[in-house]
């Protein structure tokens, strides 16, 4: 490891710890926010999510105006393709069946959920399996490319970012201000140590900003699932892992804000830039949630649940891992990273996520949680 990695590893670890702690306290489950909207017509937490996106958008662009942002748009974003939507649909189904998305699974596992631990194993398997279909999927992605090479909507339209960011921010800000005045962002709370989700939303937007300033991009963790999956696979089949092009590719290549050399990383088993950025984040979220649960006396390994729920989270986890590579990336990356800068992939992903969550909710209510 080079010295350049120290600020990255430390920042990612602190971001992960605080995010895990906050998410557990507020039960800040993005899957639940979308799912409960479709299942129970309950939009309260979805409003909090919108607030977080708007807050991130404001923070990122204030930081950009102040010259604190080194890369805009940030690394790892690609051009738009209809496969972003398809990936979003699968991601939505997978996250509902898994009982949490790529990040939600981590904080729930940290708090002692055995189901989430099984979903985590599924996520690793699904992410690593993606390498098998990567050549075909990336060919399809190129065939279904839309709106040219621009990575953000303003770029694709040939506009300055502010030409769209300012009106969107104004509309979003007005909406959030109205909800705040109606008290629609406040949740009644009975759980011990509860932190109001709107407060967590603000703090998480700040965590995302810290990552953007120091690491050079907002929070992202999904490549590390493929990396961890590839690592496990390479213990049993090293030659096979080495033969897959996806594990050779170095998708990340940039000069970090507090460094002067180019660092690179990919989904292969190597301890590279992706490992330095994402592994501390993953570990931090799990541990942060564990600390929160232990402090409240709520940490307990719970595994006695109906068998069909184990089947659901395993299938959901595999689907989620696979989809996270197909999209590419996840709720956290797109909702509090990409959408705030109007990244095209992120907007397309959300368009797919909505019907996907609805389909997942129907399957869950019909086949997994039997109430008939």
């Amino acid at each position: 490891m080079q010295a350049d990695y120290a600020p990255i590893i430390l920042t990612s670890l602190l971001c992960g710890l605080s995010a895990g702690f906050l998410m557990h306290r507020s039960d800040f489950c993005v899957t639940g926010m979308f799912r409960d909207f479709f299942l129970f017509k309950d939009a309260r937490m979805l409003r909090v999510l919108v607030f977080m996106v708007v807050a991130s958008m404001a923070l990122f662009h204030v930081a950009k105006v102040l010259g604190l942002i080194a890369h805009y748009p940030f690394p790892l974003l690609g051009a738009m393709s209809l496969t972003n939507i398809l990936g979003g649909v699968l991601f939505g189904i997978g996250m509902v069946l898994a009982g949490g998305c790529v990040v939600g699974t981590l904080y729930k596992m940290g708090a002692g959920s055995m189901l989430s631990a099984v979903a985590f194993v599924g996520l690793l398997a699904g992410s690593a399996f993606y390498a098998q279909i990567h050549p075909a999927w990336s060919a399809l992605t190129q065939q279904l490319a839309v709106f040219g090479p621009g990575k953000t909507i303003p770029q694709a339209l040939g506009l300055s970012p502010y030409a769209l960011i300012v009106p969107v921010l104004a509309a979003g800000g007005w909406l959030v201000w109205r909800w705040a005045r109606q008290g629609a962002l406040v949740m009644p709370s009975y759980a011990e140590g509860y932190i109001q989700p709107w407060m967590t939303a603000v703090l998480l937007a700040g965590v995302g900003l810290a990552s953007y300033i120091v690491v050079g991009m907002p929070l992202g963790i999904t490549t590390s699932y493929a990396k961890l999956g590839a690592t496990v696979q390479s213990w049993f089949a090293p030659d096979h892992v080495a033969s897959l092009s996806y594990f050779q590719a170095q998708g990340l290549k940039y000069v970090p804000p507090f460094g002067d050399t180019v660092i690179t990383g990919g989904a292969g088993p190597a301890l590279d830039a992706v490992a330095a950025i994402q592994y501390p984040l993953v570990g931090g979220i799990i541990f942060g949630a564990m600390v929160s649960a232990v402090k409240l006396g709520e940490w307990k390994l719970r595994y006695r649940v109906p068998a069909r729920q184990y089947v659901s989270v395993l299938i959901g986890g595999i689907l989620l891992g696979l989809a996270a590579r197909m999209v590419p990336a996840c709720n956290v990356w797109h909702l509090w990273g990409g959408v705030p800068i109007l990244a095209g992939q992120s907007v397309l992903y959300v368009i797919g996520l909505l019907p996907g969550t609805w389909i997942g909710s129907v399957i869950l209510a019909r086949y997994v949680v039997r109430t008939a």
């Binding site: 489950c29 009982g99 940490w299 307990k300 719970r302 109906p306 869950l364």
Partner: protein, 85 residues
Amino acid sequence: MVAQASDVAQVLEIDIRGQICPSCLLIALKEVNQRQARLKSGEEVLHILTDNRQATNTIPESVGNMGYQTAIEKIGGYYCIEIRK
């Protein structure tokens, strides 16, 4: 404080600890609907045991809208949500 068995005719305990979200709310709503008559008459109260923090506000909210009273108590690392007429 949630009621003890002696206070009422019958306490039905439903344990949803560790289950996938949103089992808590779905199962609570199912039980409430199935036992509507006994709950409304006061013959029975429901105790939902959950470790899901979110459920401590979604269940009282939903069954509250259906006209039931709720009480929540933390017992040794999990929550007991009481639903009664």
